[in-house]
């Protein structure tokens, strides 16, 4: 198995697209001379130079707005947020300007920009640095939202994002950047073909379309829907539940907007039980939306209510034990699956 790291997959996606299209540039804090705060853009300054790999000052409103203006002019910016937690000071730019420009201008000016960076809890960063923004942003029409969970998805989805004519928010995770590096549990017994990107010369053409869910683990007894980092919690839970004789199907939507509800519903029709996992807060979350859509489409196929597993409804605590407990972790998913399948 290829041991490409998640961060390397993101880098490869950017490098390949930048080689193909001179309009693509990367801008963000410490992306160039520092080689990336998380080493995602390591070496890119050497290849592409300071015109295309641009260190910005700590100025999220400024440089995210710059990206939108440049995209309106015809460039293809990749704007890196060191953390999505820092995008909040740029909210007017990224949710008021980027996704509405095409509509407000009657189709004249779009915003083919990618905004990407780490989303969700890192390691004991406290509440201001631990935002999960998917639920907040998924409700905004005009933008697209990708949440890759594996190196393969990270590369394929980001390449699609860069080529896309609309603004795309790509939510990565500090906790996943090293995936694939240290002999992490990669669940390749389930997903042999879908862990790492292809290594052949056709890499440049490898993309993953938006709005196509991936069955990360096939199963017969219960459907677990999870995207991004919680996919790994769900696979861990599935492994544990296998020992109890519960065969979980783990569905990864990969993009929340557009959402491939059909694949989710098809799975629920087969298993008749559904647990929805997402790492944002429970109230009005993407998980709530998926649960609602499952009810709308498959009410008669459900043999129990849908159970949601979220971050707990609190600001992220600094304390390590509490922080781990807050997450939609493996234990919570196991409990939810047992409950939903009446196995508790």
């Amino acid at each position: 198995m290829q041991t490409i790291q998640y961060r390397e997959a993101i880098r490869e996606a950017m490098e390949e697209e930048m080689r193909l299209d001179d309009r693509v540039f990367l801008m963000g804090e410490e992306v160039a001379q520092y080689n990336g705060a998380y080493k995602v853009s390591q070496g890119m300054l050497d290849e592409f130079g300071p015109r295309r790999i641009v260190d910005s000052p700590i100025s999220e409103t400024g440089f995210s707005g710059l990206g939108i203006g440049a995209a309106m002019y015809g460039l293809r910016p990749i704007i890196e947020f060191m953390s999505w937690s820092f995008c909040l000071v740029a909210a007017d730019q990224i949710i008021n300007n980027a996704p509405k420009m095409l509509y407000m201008s009657g189709g004249q000016f779009g915003c083919p920009a990618v905004f990407r960076g780490n989303n969700g809890a890192g390691g004991q960063l406290g509440s201001t640095h631990s935002w999960c923004v998917e639920s907040m942003f998924a409700s905004v029409p005009g933008l697209k939202l990708a949440v890759p969970s594996t190196p393969r998805d990270a590369k394929g989805l980001l390449k699609t994002a860069i080529r896309d004519a609309d603004p795309v928010f790509n939510l990565e995770s500090e906790r996943m950047l090293g995936l694939g590096a240290r002999g992490d549990k990669d669940f390749s017994r389930y997903i042999k073909d879908t862990w790492a990107p292809p290594t052949t010369k056709q890499d440049e053409d490898f993309t993953i379309p938006f709005g196509v869910a991936d069955i990360k683990k096939p199963g017969a007894d219960v459907t677990i829907v999870a995207a991004g980092r919680p996919v790994h919690f769900a696979l861990d839970a599935a492994e544990e539940l296998e020992k109890e004789g519960i065969d979980c199907e783990v569905i990864d939507p990969r993009t929340y907007r557009p959402l491939d509800i059909d694949t989710i519903v098809k799975s629920v029709r087969k298993t008749n039980y559904c647990v929805v996992v997402d790492q944002s807060w429970p109230f009005a979350s993407v998980g709530s939306e998926i649960a609602a859509q499952v009810y709308e489409h498959a009410m008669d196929d459900l043999d129990n209510k849908v159970i949601r597993v979220n971050n707990d409804d609190i600001p992220a605590p600094y304390n390590r034990t509490l922080e781990q407990e807050m997450l939609p972790n493996t234990k919570k998913i196991i409990d939810a699956v047992r409950a939903v399948t009446y196995s508790a």
Partner: protein
Amino acid sequence: MTPATTEDTVTTQTSNNPPKDKLVDMLYQMMLIRRFEERTMQAYQQAKIGGFCHIYIGQEATAVGAVAALVHDDPIITAYRDHGHALARGMHPNYCMAEMYGKVTGCAKGKGGSMHMFDKANHMYGGHAIVGGQCPLGVGLAFAIQYEKKNNVAVCFFGDGAINQGAFHEAMNLAAIWNLPILFVVENNGYSMGTAISRGTAAADNLGAKAAAYGMRYAECDGMDVLDTYNVFKREGDLSRGSTSDQLGLEQKGGGPCFINARTYRYQGHSMSDPQKYRSKDEVNDKKDKDCINTLVGHLIDNKLATQQQIDELDKKAKQASRDAIDYAEKSPDLPMSEMFTDVYAEPYGPPYVKGGMPKMITDNNSGE
């Protein structure tokens, strides 16, 4: 990096006035904006136009003088008081009025309204309705010009209220560190809505200090004098045009960004619903004595560049074009329900989103449709 403001960077009247034909055209542009907006106010009062509507009357010389000093593909971007910029940029008045009527023949098919005038063909990157929100976008236009190594300059207009927003500061800072080809233009009409600039802006009587804080050139112009405005924009635009930065891997050249303080005045309220209790009628009348159209008319007559009869003809033409714009908007079809879900995404993106076509753009050559 350019030196901070010094006395001699502040504008002094120069005599590089545009040739006669251009002056006459500039007068017509100002007359058109005024007559057009008089019609706009009537239509608003008749509830033909909805939402918020901000009238530019009094400030015409700023947009007209600035745009006249640019080349056509220099991108401009502005705030929500944007009808004047759109018309000065060459948007057909029919197209502008139809937008306010919410008609499919409007510049944004009736999806944007008064505050969101976009015109790609005329390099008008929009009216933007969140105060200061367009400043970083303007920087993006300038960045793209530099990135593509083009010999253009971006112009970012905003009101004096925007100076107090964080976006303004970040935009000025980015433009300065990367020596971007951009003119930041404060259309300083003295009030952000009902708040006098001295109540809301520190050092309001010394805006040059704002530019100095970024090591940026500073210029002032009389925004109610179209010739002064033209000359300042010509001079500063040429200094900024095509600027590049060694920080972005290019040879450092050009004067970089400039902050221009265009002192002007709006005769009408902030928006159509403003009772204007924050200023006196005397103040408004004093400013009207310096009216931009009268000043240019005086210049043309005094210098025998036009006759009163020619000027009357121009005004007649502006009035007719404004009446025609109303007729066109009235007769145009509404934005159909089928356009509800178009232009949300660029490409077809599952139901219910479908990509819609653009209505035919109207130009001077086919406006009789």
